[in-house]
């Protein structure tokens, strides 16, 4: 996978602990599939982020429909999911979510227990960078994965920086890999 370990914003470099670059999409899919309580965080840029499915909202709905992970829409974008007929999508603002994810006693959006893996996609680059930084230091038992098109150094695992077309292919492989086993 032709991906580079350079951050999406030039100066947003991390400290000594940096994300592992996900070497191939199947690894990301495998991490998600192996998690007991995975959560996909879909940010406010999802509508303008094109994927093989249309946009990232469509892709998130496809993943949601597998029932293998919960999906939470940040900012105000849960309405986009509803417009497209998706049910059961959670809504929580990024700050509220980050604050709860660092709390080991939080029972999750469905009240069923803490998440062990959180994947981020469609976010504002720097906002995800910051929230993952908070989780890196204050939620050390939580695994974070960035599915962003640009390398996110504060996640545990991140896709590398890549061109838009390549990223679409990678995301499609990840989604297929998760859905096919369903």
């Amino acid at each position: 996978m032709a991906a580079r370990m350079i951050p999406g914003q030039t100066a947003e470099i991390a400290g000594p602990k940096k994300a592992f670059v996900i070497p191939k999409p199947e690894v990301a899919a495998s991490l998600i599939k192996r998690a007991k309580r995975p959560l996909l965080v879909v940010g406010s840029k999802a509508v303008e982020t094109q994927t093989m499915d249309g946009d990232l909202i469509d892709t998130a709905i496809r993943l949601h429909n597998t029932g293998r992970l919960q999906v939470v829409a940040t900012a105000h974008i849960v309405g986009e999911f509803m417009k497209r007929g998706a049910e059961g999508i959670h809504s929580m603002q990024m700050m509220n979510l980050g604050d709860r994810l660092r709390d080991p006693d939080w029972r999750g959006l469905d009240g069923e227990g803490a998440y062990d893996l959180v994947a981020f996609a469609g976010t504002l680059y720097y906002l995800e960078w910051l929230v993952e930084s908070g989780l890196k230091s204050f939620a050390q038992d939580l695994t974070t994965i960035s599915l962003s098109r640009s390398y996110q150094p504060n996640a545990n695992w991140s896709l590398g920086t890549m061109k838009a077309d390549k990223w679409k292919e990678v995301i499609d492989v990840i989604v297929k890999s998760i859905t096919e086993d369903n």
Partner: protein, 781 residues
Amino acid sequence: MSKKDLKLKIDEFSSAVGSFKGVEIEIGRIYDDSWEEPMGPTPFPSVGTLRNWDRKLLDRYKPFYMPFCDLCCLCTFGKCDLTGDKRGACGITMAAQQSRIVLLACCIGASTHCAHARHMLDHLMEEFGREAPIEVALNTNVEAPNIRLVCGIKPNTLRDLEDALDYVETQLVQLVAAAHTGQEGDNIDFESKAFHAGMLDHVAMEVADIEQITTLGMPKGIPDAPMTELGFGCIDPNKAVIMCIGHNVLPSVDIIDYLMENDLFGEVEIGGLCCTAHDNSRYNTRAKVIGPISWQLRYLRSGIPDLIVVDEQCIRTDILIEAKKLGVPVIATSEKSMLGLPNRTHDPPDNIVADLVEGKAPGALIIEPKKVGEVAVKTVLGVAPTRKDYKPLSGDDIQEMAEHCRNCEECVRACPNNLPIMEAVQQAAEGNFELLGDIYPACVGCGRCESACPENMPLITFFNKGAEERIANEKFPMRVGRGAVQDVEIREVGRGIVFGEIPGVVALVGCANYPKGGIDVAKIAEEFLNRRFIVVATGCAAMDLAMIRDEEGQNLYERYPGDFDAGGLINIGSCVSNAHITGAAIKIANIFAKRPLRANYEEIADYVYNRVGAVGVAWGAMSQKAASIASGCWRLGIPVVVGPHGAKYRRNLLGRKEKDEDWMTYDARTGEEVYTGPVPEHLFYAAETAEEAIVMIAKLVMRPNDTTKGRAVKLSHYIDLHKKYYGTMPDDLQYFVRREADIPFTMKNEILEYLKEKGWVEDKIAIPDPTLLDRMVRRRE
């Protein structure tokens, strides 16, 4: 006022005891306590005095840290990796380090306003006399609510303001000292100190604005303050153009005076950027407001200015380099920002003018404002004719340069908002400038893209070219900053605000580091004005909200009155005018509720927190000053919402609405601790989008003291806005509906059904006489 100097000098004195010659007796301060209100419990509070109050707030609103850097690099032990549960060589944790940086940011911010106030005060006392009486606003007795509240003094003259500044300076030294290696180690104590810095900042800002309102004839709290013009289009490029940048109005005042005295406004335009522009227009409406801080580079690149005058704060530090590119001299006027220029303060004005006009010197440092006035005007009149042939880059030039784009995407990665700059440049290479024009309104004007470009393309100039037509039409009316809210206005609206019938006060303040351009500020303002909130604005935000027009071509300043009342849009003024916003909240507690004001910080803050539905919004917060302004609001119990870039302040202060135990409040009538629900839910909150911010603001105006009618009004806006922007009902109404009567009448059935599903129990949420202070309990049962 409270303190005066006394100096007694006796040249020769003979008595039975003996003869004395040259006797001098000097008494620094005599306490002249003519203010009838008894002294409250916390005059001139020291760093730890209000710690218990801060901890009450910070217990509810725990910091969620988002480290901007995993290292500490402040001492030679370092760099120390603080990631996770590691500690630095001095023992510091990541949490403490983040709050330490917050404290330093707040100290820088507060120091900046304090230094600004001190510089102006020294100058104005020299010009107008130390005993010049202060005059802040019409129909107003409480002239300085922050100073009265914090210091416990009632200033009457300019000299009296010195006492407040002396106090602020002394405290800031203590706070900065606490950040030294091996001092404070507890993150919450660092946070408390940051609150202290914020409180000090509001005192300093109040001093600064009182000084200039008093002596420079700025509007004294008048709702119908005059209109001025704002935008590129308001400057006549056929005149010689002086561009003033910064926050300290003194040099600009003397430029304006010189133009007036010599009848030169027909030949010279004076335009300002950032808060100097606000204050210029408060001084004289013939001074134009070019725009907010983010427009510095783009306005320079227009090639229009013939002279740049900088004072202090928020100036581009590369201004001299930019000016050289234009062939325009720079006059620096502050010791805080000397830019490496030679000090010409004591040179004859005509010598300086000759050097600048002939290009023998790129600029001059002139500390004396009067001399700046004369030199600036004479210089611009000399320079402008030499620049008549100046032409900015043409479309052909830009197309040719764009063809050299290496497709490296470094511009996009350097951009704070990842704008599609590379794509726009590639289109420009094909002769299509449309996307460049689309970038213009979203660009924050930082110029990082240019710095990153390996081909050194002047990309800000490219954006200007793309938006050429738009720029020419950028001309908007703006009501000039009116300064303080009058006491009489507080009496009129106090009840409506405290009982919730006026749904809230939204204060749009701060800088212009927006995620999607200044248009969002205008949208936020319009949404709440339409709903008859009181909207107040300062600084860059007050400019940016002027920039949308309705179908009839009117902007918000034309459509909404300047009264501090429901549906009013009030331009309070520049950055330092922010003190009038907290001042208004303080005055509600004092004038409407008759709470003692003098040195009574905790009680007033407790009142504001529990009763005054005010929310600060700094959508483009960028600076350390914005951090300290916000911090002063937090200590006073006013929540603040920032844009997504505001998360870079390293932490939010967030409540957890589902934790009932966090929301216990005393009922002052009985002493009983009761559950009042999560209001306000957060103290410092970064929203990802403007839509999210709007809904959050509507939620954060709720207070435990709301009457049922008031809560119903607030809930109706919250629900309506949530439906509008999220497309759904809120999923947390059970935390905010206290009893059936709180439910907005038109939504009753829908909401009752929802509440039933959530297992809502009526009266679980109490409506007490709310206080967080044990000592405010009147009677225990």
